[in-house]
């Protein structure tokens, strides 16, 4: 039953992927699409216009979108499960703000763009995650014995750092030239507008390492859900496992943020939706839901929103927020279980 539902989600991702590549403001027929891709790979003749739009714009955009969604979905589900807190997601515990602060510093103070911003975001996310982990694991942490104390400290440290970084971002926004501030705002919302094959390649490499790592850690994670003491009793090395989990989840969020900016809500929303749809907490389902959200939102942002707003291509993160919020509220209202 669960496998079926997860498969449905996977099929929906594939379907939506092709919808976003083939349809929209520029329509490509299916035979044309295969001709374009085949010719691109074999170096054959190009179809004027269509080849460029598909290979340089629509396809990389959809590929980056899919992988970003998978990474955010997995990262969010990992955090929420590990910390046993539905509010815990990379943005709440500070990692996205690390990326944002570094990116805004790069954009505003150094006038950076493109790959430099991505690199800064990645560095910022990882540095902040390392800082948070160092803060929360030092001191008198060892064997506090009480339930999820280490997790709580991780969250609190993250919250403190996130607040400070957010202040830095707001301040830089007031200091910047207004046009730079507007650019930074687009990045801060999460956008696929500058998706490219380079970015897709980096993201793909990262995912080929991280996704197998997630499947490897999924078993211990399930035991860790029972509580630190129970897990230790069952022979799990709690601290080591948690360190590995944090490292994987942070890396997922960091590479996704570097590729597309902190697309709001995807990490936060994927887990609850996947659970609602499949009936139980499921990492693969969360990944597929993440991809679905990003693809659907970006299709809307790139193709439908400009019609309503006189040509403004919205950042995808704006759509995930605007459409994601009512959806989560609906989930909450209709959920008949006590815990959402």
């Amino acid at each position: 039953m669960r496998l079926d539902r997860t498969a449905v989600l996977a099929a929906a991702v594939v379907l939506l992927f092709f919808v976003s590549v083939l349809l929209g403001s520029y329509t490509v027929t299916i035979p044309d699409f295969f001709t374009i891709v085949a010719n691109h790979l074999t170096g054959g003749a190009k179809i004027p216009g269509a080849s460029f739009i598909v290979m340089e714009n629509k396809l990389p955009r959809a590929v980056v979108g899919t992988m970003t969604g998978i990474a955010f979905g997995l990262a969010g589900a990992l955090f929420q499960t590990m910390l046993r807190n539905p509010l815990a997601s990379p943005d709440v515990i500070g990692i996205s703000f690390g990326a944002s602060a570094a990116a805004v510093v790069a954009i505003v103070l150094f006038g950076a763009a493109g790959a430099v911003v991505s690199g800064a975001a990645l560095t910022g996310a990882l540095a902040v995650a390392g800082l948070i982990y160092a803060i929360s694991s030092g001191g008198k942490l060892r064997r506090t014995g009480r339930g999820n104390a280490a997790g709580n400290r991780l969250v609190l440290a993250g919250v403190g750092i996130a607040a400070a970084l957010q202040a830095v971002v707001s301040f830089l926004m007031t200091r910047a030239d207004i046009r730079t501030a507007a650019d930074a705002l687009v990045w801060l919302n999460g956008s696929l507008n500058s998706a490219s094959w380079d970015r897709a390649g980096v993201l793909f490499l990262a995912l080929t390492v991280l996704v197998p790592a997630v499947t490897f850690i999924a078993g211990p994670l399930r035991i860790l859900e029972l509580g630190d003491d129970a897990a230790a009793g069952l022979g799990i090395r709690v601290n080591t496992t948690r360190l590995i989990l944090v490292a994987i989840a942070v890396s997922l969020a960091a590479v996704a943020t570097a590729a597309a900016g902190p697309v709001s809500f995807v990490a936060f929303l994927s887990g609850p939706i996947a659970r609602r749809f499949t009936g139980k907490a499921s990492l693969p389902a969360s990944a597929f839901v993440g991809a679905l959200i990003v693809l659907a939102a970006d299709y809307f942002a790139a193709n439908l929103a400009p019609l309503l707003l006189g040509g403004t291509v919205l950042p995808v993160g704006v759509i995930t927020g605007v459409l994601g919020a009512p959806f989560l509220l609906w989930l909450l209202v209709t959920a008949n279980r006590k815990d959402a």
């Binding site: 440290a157 919250v159 403190g160 301040f171 919205l314 995930t320 909450l332």
Partner: protein
């Protein structure tokens, strides 16, 4: 069974089990220690308020500050400077206290350490309506912003609470936190739709967004006072309620607490406090989120101590941040909304590190 055992359930009880939170005994050493800490915090706050009048781009000796307050001479430039600093000091005290109280109460109501006053949507609601005010009605002044901000804050909070209340169990902590987070994210995305398409609006909004207590005069402050007073009264009286809610809804019900009603009233107080604070000072993060946690390291989880401590510590942080912000980038100023986080974060991180697994 006989009459001596505490009855576990039912709404009849004035009878309270022995383990229920009660007041500190008269000779209670920890109670006296906490009272001493509270006194120390009040002294620090008074000193900071004095410093807030004296320190700035133009430093005024403390003696002159005292003169300006007691025998005001309008022709004396120093006196005028001090008088100009009074509203911002008062606003620092009011907004800081409101945010600290609201934050502590919010974490209790939502039973979630990640909950801050913003989690019920006040910041996002206020921000969206302010952006609409700028974009549609061309509002440009702080006194113009307040009513938009208050309208947005109150509406968002009510909507969050209503959504969380739907369904069988009423506004459970998880539903409240999730509904708030969801609505906040949605509202700020709507706001970003406007900001991305209108650079002029972004240009004005980004200065409101940082939050601060400078540049507001009495005409901005005074309308907020009744709301703040009502909210503070409600929340300060809610300490016992929060203590029993912290034990979980079922136990609280068993203690004779009318869970749904008391939670609704507490949330009303929170909304009045942080909605008004946001209207007056813009969205100031960190204070409401972090001060209650910092306070718990001193007081333990008893809300009857956490609330007054938060009421004292939060304005101290806000004033300290504002004072540092005045001198750190002379001749310019760094808004208090920025400095609170920069000043507070290291302290908070230090507390987290040395604490023994903070929990609610």
């Amino acid at each position: 069974m006989s009459t001596t055992t505490a009855r576990p359930a039912g709404g009849t009880g004035t009878q309270v089990p022995a383990w229920a939170p009660t007041g500190p005994l008269p000779g209670d050493a920890s109670g006296r220690k906490r009272a001493a800490w509270l006194l120390a915090a009040v002294v620090v706050l008074v000193l900071l308020a004095g410093a807030s009048l004296a320190v700035g781009a133009r430093d005024v000796p403390l003696g002159t500050v005292w003169q300006a307050l007691t025998v005001f001479d309008p022709t004396n430039g120093d006196h005028a400077v001090v008088h100009a600093r009074i509203p911002r000091t008062v606003l620092g005290l009011l907004a800081g206290g409101a945010l600290g109280l609201a934050g502590a109460a919010m974490q209790g109501v939502a039973r979630n350490p990640l909950a801050d006053p913003g989690i019920i949507g006040v910041n996002a609601g206020a921000a969206l309506v302010v952006v609409i005010g700028i974009y549609v009605f061309g509002v440009t002044t702080f006194s113009g912003y307040i009513w938009f901000a208050f309208l947005g804050a109150a509406t968002a909070a009510v909507v969050v609470y209503l959504i969380a209340s739907l369904g069988r169990d009423g506004a459970t902590p998880v539903k409240l936190a999730l509904a708030g987070a969801a609505l906040s994210a949605g509202l700020s995305s709507l706001m970003n739709v406007i900001l991305v398409s209108s650079q002029d609006t972004l240009d004005r909004f980004r200065f409101w967004q940082v939050g601060g207590i400078a540049g507001r005069d009495w005409s901005v402050l005074l309308p907020g006072l009744p709301f703040l007073a009502a909210g503070a009264l409600i929340v300060l009286l809610a300490g016992r309620i929060l203590n029993s809610l912290a034990l979980g809804d079922d136990i609280a019900r068993g203690l004779g607490q009318r869970v749904v009603l008391s939670r609704a009233v507490t949330v009303l107080g929170i909304v009045l406090l942080c909605g008004t604070a946001t209207a007056l000072a813009g969205p100031i993060g960190f204070v409401g989120l972090v001060i209650p946690h910092a306070v718990r390291f001193l007081t333990g989880p008893d809300y009857r101590w956490v609330l007054p401590f938060s009421l004292t510590a939060a304005p101290a942080l806000l004033l300290a941040a504002d004072i540092i912000g005045r001198v750190v980038l002379l001749p310019g100023e760094v808004p208090a909304g920025i400095m609170t986080a920069l000043v507070g974060a290291p302290v908070f991180v230090w507390l987290v590190r040395r604490g023994k697994g903070a929990s609610l």
